[in-house]
Point group: C2
Chain length 613, copies 2
């Protein structure tokens, strides 16, 4: 009940933020038009994306009903939870994207008045997505638990979130990269015109892409991780604290604490005219972390003080759980630093890539791939330490709570992440509306910060996914024990996935290959779409008379259409790969091979994701 | 004893081939000079490389003695086996490289007479390396077994091979790629002069690089896989057939069969004037496969006919083992086809990358990385099928014998692989000695085939390494059981590496990261060396008057020196990473975490290797 109330408070705060942003001035007629074009492009994409996903959702809804038909409560409970999980994700996407794309021109207009004003509009515009994601996630899980009182049933909520996230992330990613590559290669490199130049036909598509990739895609992604982690921790809590409900309540209350902390900390986000906006956002993030860390101890104390220390909780339950959650929060901090180190031009890696480019694209690529491969080591070390610490202090449940510690700050992380596209679009609008260098200087400052926060949010998404996967993996094992036909895999009632059995190794190999293939599909999709985009932009430069002189307008809509069509069409193959492979391995080779596969997917997936990032 | 005799026959055949090649005509004075320059560059590199490795070898020799001091037979046996393994590798490297680098001008000269003559010289020149690798590997293992009668002791032979292979592969790889990138980028791309143009200062380094990378590096690599697989199969054989020696003899005899088959099949390698040299080499490879497949059945029948079928050998031992070995041979064939599909310009992947390059380097890279990622799927499926089939017919021993089935053909595979650099160098010498288009046309034909065989050999090395790793992994588990302090990890006397234990997952994550970091070091080394090489080539083009007009000679030696220094210096870090990480994980977190790590290294390593290839 407390968690549901916190979810409602988060949504009310999102509503308040949305209204406050919409009251802001939109600037000139030209600015309004540009913002409207981006808004329409983004909405058109979301509409087509969600519409494409309806058949999938219907099939899965039917499968959940059919598969559990013998147990009506389970069947309807899982089907309905699935639907709620998927549709809440879509709602968060619509609401967050609407406000984010309506905040860009308002941020530009605010930048005419001052840096703090612009920061404030952009942050509030992005925070609507953040609060919607965390609020709907928490509300959905807690209300469904109040209704069904069974974590196994509401697990389908995370499944619904997962299906949307999978396609939203891939579709949004293809959209944004195709538009980005197309706009930059022909515009910046070939024609030598600046970023966001209104003469570039792909410029609106590029701005739409920032939103559908970083705001909608990332939002759906973290909403899914958030829901999955919460429910996985609840599932493990049932086993770890048999006969008690506190193991179920604790993750929900940590989610509530993180959300309220994010609301409070959002008031810390402010800067001065000469200040560094990065500092302002960092204050929001740090505030959330510190407030959550404090709250987590009191919550653990109030729930678990009466349980004595045990082998899983050698320092007692409250302290053990507090340490686990804080381990998760510290992973956030560490991954933030590591990401900044590897992506900011202030540090050696980016400088090394830049200097390697002096001898041409070949050495640039060699250096870039080298740095990417190298960048996997530190995040893995951080994640491994968090696993070891949380396991030593609080057992398997501790690992799930470390994941929860990372993800309970999702409200703030998504807010800061969604700030990026708003700031980026604001700069684009300033350029396209020809507002002069003093405005552009301010939006550039915000945009540079937005690029870093987007990279940090990606690191956060990967790191939290790794811990979430482990929590889900444990929950998977708990559920497998109850299935028929796995008795051969059990040792003393526990599932054993012995790496020395060829079945497990086969699963591990297949699992490791899935992320490679998934990435290949995604890269190919981007390549094809970018190829088409480049052709179209070149064609417009060539065929529209007076375009380069600024006397004629390019056909923005065609480029928006290329990205949209490509993204929708090409998100299907990688999505299906991720959905179908576990079914084939599981039904074909059994639960143990599936376990090996899940481990392989997790390890190879995390490594490839960091490398790609 | 039979295996030792086969090893000697292999070496005698290598000697015969070497003498027959050295009798061939070397062509003009200019050709002799060029060949001599390549020979000297290659030898200088090998000398420095082996000299750098002596301290490592001494330390490990001492550690093996010190660590086993309580058991003098074990201590001296392991230390001496290590030394023999390492020095046989060096001997094979010296002998093979000497003949390979002395065959290039002779191949060019033979090309003046006819295509079959040139093919014959190049093949015989490369086959010396192939026969040396397989002959010394088989001889070393079998003689050491005759002496010590204990597979645990002679396991250090593989360890010695492994240390040399690690550094030879990395050092040779850095050398060849730095020279290749340097020569191509400045010569072909910037200055617009042809490949192997004598005006290019990096052209000798490039030709040396082909030898130290593909001949010495690949030879050492497969020599190590060969030795490791043979001994791992022997170790497993001890457990699977308790009280009998046939489980130890069988892998040795399969090695002998493969070597004799390769000798016989080498006489099938011939072509006509208008023929396709690829077909000639394929005949050699197919001949080896078929002859080995036939022999394997009779060997299994003669050793195991009296053992009844069991749960591990449901179709009986002889048939089960024959199927396993043939599964390995078929992996060779399948990986050959897959590699050709992904690397030859006759098929879609390479054509797709080429057409993506129409829109510039960015889409070229996106397409290339996409194809690379995608290319992991088929080899993994093939390997997984081989694991499943061989395990179902012959248990764990079957997996080891499938690996042996792949590797027993190493003599022919290395021969065909080493053919590549000889043909490539022959083309280079034809170009540099200005021999006219009709000679160059023939060497080009051989060179094109050599590029494919080099790629196929890489695929072979990766696939066999995957199966070898599994065989070693099982052997590792057998040994761990005997160690003190692992009783907690045992279930009924068997080691269990349960993926659901955080310790194993931590090992898996760390293990998965090692190949990424290893690749990063290697890429960085290549990047740095290529950067330096590009600078030097540009400097010579700029500063040596009359160079571009062909009136002055470039300073080849400096480029050779850059590659040599870079390769020697930079092979250390990745090598140490591979040597030290297992020690840290093993001693720091125990045998179980080490087991998880080995699984992680294998899966991520195989996937990354295929992607990189």
């Amino acid at each position: 009940m407390y968690a549901a109330i916190a979810g409602v408070i988060g949504l009310l705060f999102a509503g308040y933020l949305a209204m406050s942003v919409l009251k802001e001035d939109q600037g000139t007629q030209r600015m309004k038009e540009l913002s409207q074009a981006i808004f329409e492009g983004a909405m058109a994409f979301l509409n087509r994306q969600y519409r494409t996903l309806i058949p999938f959702a219907v099939i899965i809804f039917g499968a959940l009903l059919y598969g559990n038909w013998g147990n009506q409560k389970l069947a309807w409970g899982q089907a309905i939870s699935f639907l709620v999980g998927a549709s809440f994700s879509a709602v968060a996407g619509y609401v967050g994207m609407t406000i984010a794309t309506k905040s860009n021109a308002r941020t530009t207009a605010a930048a005419m008045r001052g840096l703090n004003e612009a920061l404030s509009v952009a942050f509030r515009g992005g925070a609507v997505m953040g609060m919607s994601v965390a609020g709907l996630g928490l509300l959905g899980v807690s209300v469904l638990y109040i209704v069904y009182q069974d974590a196994v049933i509401i697990n389908s909520f995370a499944f619904g979130a997962s299906v949307i996230a999978l396609f939203a992330r891939v579709g949004g990613g293809i959209y944004t990269k195709a538009a980005d590559v197309g706009a930059d290669l022909v515009g910046k490199v070939e024609a030598g015109i600046p970023e966001d130049d209104p003469r570039n036909p792909a410029v609106i598509a590029d701005n739409v892409g920032d939103n559908v990739g970083d705001t909608a895609g990332m939002g759906a992604d973290l909403y899914e991780s958030y829901a999955a982690t919460t429910i996985a921790a609840m599932l493990i809590g049932v086993t770890v604290f048999p006969g008690r409900l506190e193991g179920i309540f604790y993750p929900l209350l940590i989610g509530a604490a993180g959300l309220i902390a994010a609301i409070i900390a959002s008031f810390f986000v402010r800067t001065t005219e000469d200040g560094n906006p990065q500092m302002a956002l960092n204050k929001g993030l740090w505030g959330t972390n510190v407030l959550t860390a404090v709250a987590t101890y009191f919550i653990a104390q109030s729930l678990f003080a009466d349980i004595p220390a045990s082998s899983a909780f050698p320092s007692g339950v409250p302290l053990g759980l507090t340490i686990s959650v804080i381990a998760g929060l510290l992973v956030n901090v560490a991954i933030g630093w590591i990401t900044e180190y590897y992506t900011s031009y202030n540090y050696k890696p980016a400088q090394h890539i830049a200097s390697s480019s002096l001898t041409g694209p070949a050495t640039n690529i060699i250096a870039g791939i080298g740095v990417g491969l190298k960048s996997t080591a530190l995040p893995i070390i951080v994640i491994v330490i968090a696993i070891a610490v949380s396991y030593n202090y609080a057992g398997i449940y501790g690992i799930a709570m470390a994941a929860m510690g990372m993800l309970c700050t999702a409200g703030m992380v998504v807010a800061i992440d969604s700030f990026g596209p708003v700031a980026d679009n604001a700069g684009g609008i300033a350029e396209m509306a020809e507002l002069g260098p003093e405005v552009r200087k301010k939006t550039d400052k915000l945009d540079a910060v937005g690029n870093t926060t987007a990279a940090v949010a990606k690191g956060f998404a990967i790191g939290s996914a790794a811990l979430t996967a482990l929590a889900l993996f444990t929950a998977f094992a708990e559920e497998v024990i109850k299935s028929p036909g796995v008795s051969s895999a059990l040792h003393g009632g526990h599932l054993v996935l012995n790496l020395l059995e060829p079945k497990i190794i086969i699963g591990l190999f297949i699992g490791g290959t899935v992320p490679f293939l998934f990435c290949a599909f995604a890269m190919e999709a981007v390549g094809k779409a970018a190829f088409e985009m480049i052709g179209e932009v070149r064609r417009q430069f060539r065929e529209i008379p007076g375009l380069m002189e600024g006397k004629a307008k390019p056909d923005y809509a065609r480029c928006v259409d290329i990205s949209t069509r490509a993204a929708i069409r090409q998100m299907i193959a990688p999505g299906l790969l991720a959905v179908i492979t576990p079914l084939i391995v599981g039904f074909g080779f059994g639960a143990q091979a599936l376990g090996g596969m899940l481990a392989g997917v997790t390890v190879a997936g995390v490594l490839l994701a960091i490398f790609m990032g």
